[in-house]
Every structure is written in C-alpha cells, then in structure tokens.
Symmetry: D2
Subunit: 108 residues, 4 copies
C-alpha cells in the first residue's frame, strides 16, 4: 500500500459516515495523541526484554499493531486536512536526516 492509497481509503471511510465535520486539525492531532497513549500503555511496566518476549503472542502483537496503525491513521487524516503530501514529507525528512547526520565512511 502506498501512502496515497491509505489516504484515499481513509477519506472514503470517513465520507461514507459523514464524519468530515469532526476532522479539524486540533481534533485529529489530539486523536493521534490519544492513540499513542494507548500504544504506550503496552510498554508501561514491562522491560524491553519482556516487551520483545510478549509480542511472540499473536494476540499481543495484534493489539500493539492496532495502536500503531491508529496513530498513523490519524496522522494521515491530519496531513490530508492540512494539504500535506505524506510521501513527499517522509522522503524530504529522510533526506534532511542524511544531511544532518552524515554516515561515517565505514559502518561502525
């Protein structure tokens, strides 16, 4: 799936339900934060080792995957409202990071 396909699916879903009026920038940004809070809940009391062990359980993996997906869904809807091309934004940010943090000549 490309980012524009994800965006198209989400907008079709939203418009079929008449939810556009709720999708203001602030509401969508708050929604992304709500879902990120739910993602963080999975990492609240476990150590990194326990987390990596726990995702071997397919139910746990799916629960975490759902929360990651929810954050990306709201960020895609937010980008749509702001006229931001997510694919372009990601490619530009990766280029910026390469300039900001040049790779060492030999891999470390």
């Amino acid at each position: 799936m490309e980012f524009w396909e994800l965006e198209r699916k989400l907008i079709e879903f939203r418009d079929a339900r008449g939810w556009k009026r709720y999708h203001t920038p602030k509401n969508l940004a708050i929604s992304a934060a709500v879902e990120l809070g739910e993602l963080l809940e999975h990492f609240q009391w476990d150590s990194d080792e326990e987390i990596l062990e726990s995702v071997k359980d397919p139910g746990k993996e799916e629960a975490i995957a759902d929360e990651i997906a929810d954050v990306i869904i709201y960020l895609t809807l937010l980008a749509h409202e702001l006229g931001i091309d997510l694919n372009e934004a990601l490619e530009r940010k990766i280029r910026k990071n390469e300039l900001k943090y040049p790779a060492p000549e030999r891999p470390p």
Copy 2:
C-alpha cells in the same frame, strides 16, 4: 513509497550509523511521543481556522510535515523491532473499523 520501502530506508540509515543499540521498544515509543509533542506545539494556541490559514505558508507547512514524518518514522522503526508488518497492520485495522462502524446505506 510503500511501507516496506520506508522501513528498508530507515533501517539502512540506522545501521550505517550503528544506532541499532538505541532502538529498544521503549526508546522508540518514547521518541514517537516526543515528536508528537513537537507536532502538537504547532496547534497549541491557534484556532483550527488559524491553523488552516497558517499552512498556506510553505515554511509552516514543511515544519508541520516534518513533525508528522518524524512520528511515522519512529513508529515504523518500532514496528520493525517488534516484527510487525505495518502494511498488514493498517489494512487489518481499516477492516476492523469497517466492521465496528458500518457505513449507513445512504451517505449522510
């Protein structure tokens, strides 16, 4: 760009710099939250109308796009560490949402 391409680029970037050891689940989840905080800063005091007006300025649009990209970058790296296929996760979550919130017969 497909999600697997984004993932591949990010892992190449990380490995060329020897940063894998910092990429624990908790660190990456915290990093996503840090970047989401920076995204929210753009929406802190403005109304939705002011936000939509402000992104007509290309510099402001790029600043917000960078923060959205950063959150997605850290979530992609987190999914990678947890063995989660982001493309599959998004398609499954969209199907779940369609079952949870059935569309009305006629668009509202």
Copy 3:
C-alpha cells in the same frame, strides 16, 4: 494538601504494595503519558463550548478530574525517584516565567 503530603501518601501507598521496583524513571514518565492520553480522550471530538457544558455533569467532571489527578500522581512519583522537590520546582518555574514574560504596567 501540600506537595510533600501528596508525595508522602503516594510513597506509602506504593511501598505497602511492594511496587517500588516498577517505578523507574522511564516507566513513570510513560505512565504520565498514558494518563494524559486518557485525559485528551475527553477532548477528542468536542468543541471547547461542548467540553465546558459537559463538565456541568458531575460524573463527567469526576472522570476528567480523575485523569488530571492520575497525571499529577505519576509526575509526583517521578519527581520523587529523581530527587526533585516539586514545590521548589514549581516556585522556581513561576519565577522564571515572570522574568521571561514581564507583566505589562497596566493590565491589558
């Protein structure tokens, strides 16, 4: 209640249950973020006017008050682990804000 009283009550509560080992800085900071996500959920789709109207319902007010309290509880526990005196931290931050944003001579 003073901040030191809140801190004392929370530490007594924690120690009576043997939970100190879970109270690492990262876990407590993540916990504050989880609870803030739950607080934000109350503001996700409503306008400011609707929010102010909704808290006239005592049940809704208590639900929001609980989430605010939870964030403050985890921040107090975090400050405790880091050896930070919350009362001093708040008084110092208020003084810093007064220097950074001097009040106009006449109230606006």
Copy 4:
C-alpha cells in the same frame, strides 16, 4: 505550597498578561501534552541507570524539574477552567486507588 495557592498564582500571572482568552480546555490540554513531550525527551535514549546518574548534575535536574513543573502548571490551569478542585480530585483518586488495589496484610 497548597494546590489552591499554585492555582491563585497562575491565574494572577495569566490575568496580568491578558492571556485568559487563549486558555480554552483544548489549548491547555494540548499544552500539557507539549510539555510532557519535552519531559520525555530527557528520557529518550538513556537507560534508567543513566537517567538516575544524569540528575546528579544540578543543571540536568533543573531542566527536568522545569518540564515536570510545566505539565503541572498547565494541568492546574485546565482544572481551573473546568471548575475542578485539584486538591479534592487528588484526595478522591488516592481513595479510589486504595479501594481498587487493597494493600496486602503484611507489606511485601
């Protein structure tokens, strides 16, 4: 300092600058999330041991204390706007936790 004193100081500060109009529930909740993101930034790449070591440096301790204070400041302002008595909210939440998680007869 009691919670009502903190609240009074913050409201005096705000009113002397004419900032009440920015203090809507959503703006204040977003502001708390922005500051929590800045707090999390201090815990992004360090281990718990490194964090506990780093706060022995007074400058680092003050930087973290400032961010904790900022989150509490915005939550206090949010509680004020919603008519929530923070002291009462905290005492009630502690009582609820005691009922939800009864202490074992003998400390563990």
